[in-house]
């Protein structure tokens, strides 16, 4: 099992290590700064951390020594307009970072607000906007979900064939490429929203998939915790089926697919979109082991009452064992489960609001 994890929080990047006495937090990197995304590239062990500084913009840092030291890299940048232009796009947040396929060492992808996908061929030294997606006319209908602008938060690269990529965009639906980003098509048929006029409920281009995540061993199985419910695809995100009445609620941000069992996934439900707290103040994780036909409500070790914890989309993860999970909340709680979510241990209760947790 994985013996360490990182917490990307509003006030720094906190390393957590498993010691003999249990999980312990170490000293934060980027203390005081909002960390919006963290990636450990599994191909070479390099760490990447994205910052969203309040005054000074978005920054990207890299560490080749497990976080002992960091170097700043150029951040992805939208192409400059030929003349000063108040409306020209600028990077607002790096929402997610993803490692490319095993055949292209050093290739890193970045999903951003206001809706651009970027790629670096050289471990983040240089970046370019993926114009094949940015120039799609459908982008004009995307809109922000929780932010002023639309953003790319999910980048899934097929481990069987890294030419095949799937993106989740809030609010811009699910997009796929079969040629490593040279061209894109709108996928995600069957996703349903309730926030648009009824005739556009199934319009794939205006869906708000809060997170799109695949089963590592069966990448054609794709889970989506959507603004309006939970959806599952068995054809690599071309079409989704809506899960009927998951308990205790349909709303949430995160989904953690089991790495090898395509029928199993974990969720962190909240009441609903306009009341983002646990149902009845009781913090729970739900697990399905039958592809969404039924859900178990797992709460041992989690607050039984008075909880305001919300789990953001990148803050519920499972490691390669399928047994160890980590979960961080906007209230600054961090929990780990060593038993597939059956029982949870509180690791820290005083962290800043958590954007992402990542096993390393």
């Amino acid at each position: 099992m994985t013996e360490g994890l990182y917490v990307a929080s509003r006030k720094g990047l906190v390393p957590i290590r498993r010691r003999n006495r249990g999980w312990e937090a170490g000293a934060a990197a980027f203390l005081g700064e909002p960390v919006s995304a963290i990636l450990r590239d599994p191909r070479d062990g390099t760490l990447y951390a994205a910052l969203r500084l309040g005054h000074f913009g978005c920054k990207l840092h890299r560490s080749g020594n497990d976080g002992a030291s960091w170097e700043e890299l150029p951040a992805p940048a939208y192409p400059a307009a030929p003349e000063p232009d108040a409306e020209a796009p600028a990077l607002d947040m790096i929402w997610t970072l993803a490692a490319g396929g095993p055949d292209r060492l050093g290739e890193i992808w970045a999903g951003t607000l206001p809706g651009g996908l970027f790629v670096s061929p050289d471990r983040g030294e240089t970046w370019s906007l993926v114009d094949s997606l940015w120039s799609r006319p459908e982008r004009g209908e995307w809109f922000g979900g929780g932010f002023d602008h639309p953003g790319i938060h999910s980048i899934c690269i097929d481990p069987r064939d890294p030419e095949r990529m799937t993106l989740g965009i809030s609010c811009g639906g699910v997009w796929k490429s079969d040629d490593r980003g040279a061209s894109w098509r709108l996928a995600g048929q069957g996703l349903r929203n309730a926030y648009m006029p009824p005739e556009r409920a199934y319009d794939a281009n205006v869906q708000d998939p809060h997170l799109v995540a695949t089963c590592a061993a069966s990448p054609d199985v794709v889970w989506c915790q959507h603004h309006n419910g939970i959806f599952r695809s068995t054809d690599a995100a071309e079409t989704f089926g809506e899960i009927e009445a998951p308990m205790p609620s349909v709303f949430g941000f995160a989904v953690a697919p089991h790495p090898s069992d395509p029928a199993t996934a974990w969720f962190a439900p909240a009441v609903k979109d306009e009341c983002r707290v646990p149902v009845d103040g009781r913090m729970v994780v739900t697990r399905t082991r039958d592809g969404g036909a039924s859900f178990e409500v797992l709460g041992r070790g989690l607050p039984e009452r008075g909880s305001y914890d919300l789990v953001y989309r990148h803050a519920l993860v499972v490691d390669a064992s399928g047994e160890r999970l980590a979960m961080g909340s906007t209230t600054g709680n961090l929990w780990v489960s060593e038993s597939g979510g059956e029982e949870w241990q509180q690791i820290d209760a005083h962290l800043p609001p958590i954007a992402q947790v990542a096993f390393v």
Partner: protein, 89 residues
Amino acid sequence: MPQVSFTGNLRRHRETPVTAVEGATVREALDAVFAEDPLLRGYVLDEQGRLRRHVNVFVNNAMIADRLGLADPVGRDDEIYVLQALSGG
């Protein structure tokens, strides 16, 4: 030559010594500083060359007028201050 100085809060991120540079506008003076540290540029300006929303620039005692193009003129003896608005919690 105009002199450029930066808010002390930037020193957490980049070295920002007080620098005397060539330049007849705020844009030219700042570009001369950024030529020495290209990453510093992104802390003050966005990729469109606009002054970041929560950063202010003063020439002597006056806030600049052109946050988009930074065309405000500067003279030989002027001082340019790059400051930040205060916010957060």
